[in-house]
């Protein structure tokens, strides 16, 4: 699990009074370079101090030796005169000023790709199917027993599987390549298609992970009977391939799944949390404890 800092550091490019503007193409090049490093950027024409928030650590501008003093909400901000410097040199200056502030840089070896489910609150009915399905504690519930994405960084990059189990097509992955999972409008056809996907999962045994557990158990039994590790592994591989095709789960995610026993334990935990959330919802609505819990 990646622990996320609250904010990405912000740079203010100041072009207001007392500063010369950057040339147009140079300005765009500089902003692009800073964004591609992971920084947030504010291009300010008036009020460098007003443009600086508590994530701002540096203000850069062509001050011609007259750099202003800027104090943000929580800290004094460094101000650098970048007259005569190229965009690449300004980025170097900014990197130096950042010091040890954490920065999630796209493409860097240790960077975190922001891949996680995003709930469409208009479509979500809080049925908790996704909470019950996810083995990685991505989902949780808020104080009002409504679904929330609690631990985005727990999500497995490029895996959109939970969006396939959502009966309302309410789960998006904005970096997915196709609609409606990418956030494109949901059509009636999409709703039908999503339902069909759930039917496929039902064909596999009602729940993909439950089916995985069963198949693993079957394989284990066969292993004990036949004492063939190869056969057990082949069985697991067949099962995983079927899962990967049915729910578009990347192979590397399936390969990284914990042991069947661990899957069973986590699945039971998730189902328990989902049932508790549903019971909480029902109680809040004055209907008493929920009559049923989601399938696991």
């Amino acid at each position: 699990m990646t622990t996320l800092a609250t904010r990405q550091p912000r740079v203010v490019l100041y072009e207001g009074s007392g500063a010369e503007p950057f040339a147009g193409p140079e300005r765009a090049e500089l902003v692009a370079a800073l964004l591609d490093r992971g920084y947030s950027v504010t291009l300010a024409h008036e009020g460098a101090a007003a443009a600086a928030d508590d994530a701002t650590f540096v203000v850069v501008g062509r001050f011609a030796g007259q750099a202003p003093q800027v104090t943000a909400a929580e800290a004094t901000v460094e101000v650098h005169d970048c007259s005569g410097r190229s965009p690449a040199e300004v980025v170097g200056l900014v990197d130096g000023a950042r010091a040890d502030r954490p920065l999630n840089t796209p493409g860097a070896g240790d960077s975190w790709k922001p891949w996680f489910p995003v709930i469409d609150p208009v479509r979500c009915t809080n049925c908790m199917q996704c909470l019950s399905f996810c083995l990685f504690d991505v989902y949780g519930v808020d104080a009002d027993h409504r679904l929330r994405v609690e631990n985005p960084s727990n999500c497995k990059v490029n895996c959109p599987a939970c969006s396939r189990v959502c009966p309302e097509v309410a789960i998006m992955f904005p970096k997915y390549h196709a609609g409606p999972i990418d956030g494109a409008p949901v059509s009636q056809t999409d709703v039908g298609r999503e339902k069909m996907k759930i039917d496929i999962s039902a064909l596999l045994g009602g729940d993909l992970y439950a089916r995985l557990r069963e198949r693993s158990a079957e394989a284990k039994n066969r292993f004990s009977r036949e004492r063939s590790a190869d056969q057990a592994l082949a069985e697991r591989r067949r099962c995983l391939t079927k899962l990967a095709d049915a729910a578009a789960i990347p192979r590397e995610v399936l390969d990284a799944l914990p042991s069947p026993e661990e899957i069973q334990r986590k699945s039971a935990e998730a189902a328990k949390r989902a049932a508790a959330a549903l019971a909480g919802q029902a109680a809040a609505e004055g209907m008493g404890p929920a009559a049923s819990s989601p399938s696991t």
């Binding site: 591609d36 950027v41 291009l43 904005p174 970096k175 609609g179």
Partner: protein
């Protein structure tokens, strides 16, 4: 940071540009041209490396922006699908209101349409942003961009087809 004049934009408009720097789902030529257009407009704006990254951190700045829009500032966002952008603000506990928020979709619109929405508030560009994707038209537009640039198409995530 508060007020509408902090970035020097017209008094009631705040512009936010998302670079979507961690993925290649927004065509590189579109997001590049939109940034150039904003940078060359003579107006202040905010830019973030990745709105998804901000939302995952529940960055309090998203709450600031959401509050501004509710207080009467027009918030214009150049990013991706409006449904996804609204979902991201919601995830960050800063839901956007219906009024005062205009989202321009760089995944489907050409740069000039996005800029028309961002800089001139063209309502048709906003409406087109929320409309469904016409795959055939998108393919055609992409082919046109490729021919114009004389280079390879913007790539999609590993092994995926747009």
């Amino acid at each position: 940071m508060s007020g509408n004049d902090a970035t020097g934009t017209e008094p009631t408009v705040r512009m936010l540009y998302c670079r979507c720097a961690f993925a290649q789902v927004v065509p590189a030529d579109v997001k590049g041209a939109v940034l150039e257009g904003l940078a060359g407009s003579g107006r202040g704006f905010e830019a973030v490396a990745d709105l998804c990254d901000m939302a995952a951190r529940r960055d309090p700045h998203l709450a600031d922006l959401s509050a501004l829009a509710k207080e009467g500032t027009t918030l214009r966002i150049a990013a991706c699908w409006p449904r996804a952008v609204r979902g991201l603000f919601h995830l960050a506990d800063s839901p956007l209101g219906e009024a005062g928020v205009e989202i321009l979709n760089m995944r489907t619109l050409p740069a000039e349409r996005v800029l028309a929405g961002m800089l001139s508030g063209d309502p048709t560009a906003v409406a087109e942003s929320a409309a469904g994707r016409d795959d055939a038209a998108a393919e055609q537009a992409a082919a046109g961009r490729i021919a114009a640039l004389g280079q390879l198409p913007p790539t999609t995530p590993e092994g995926e087809k747009r």
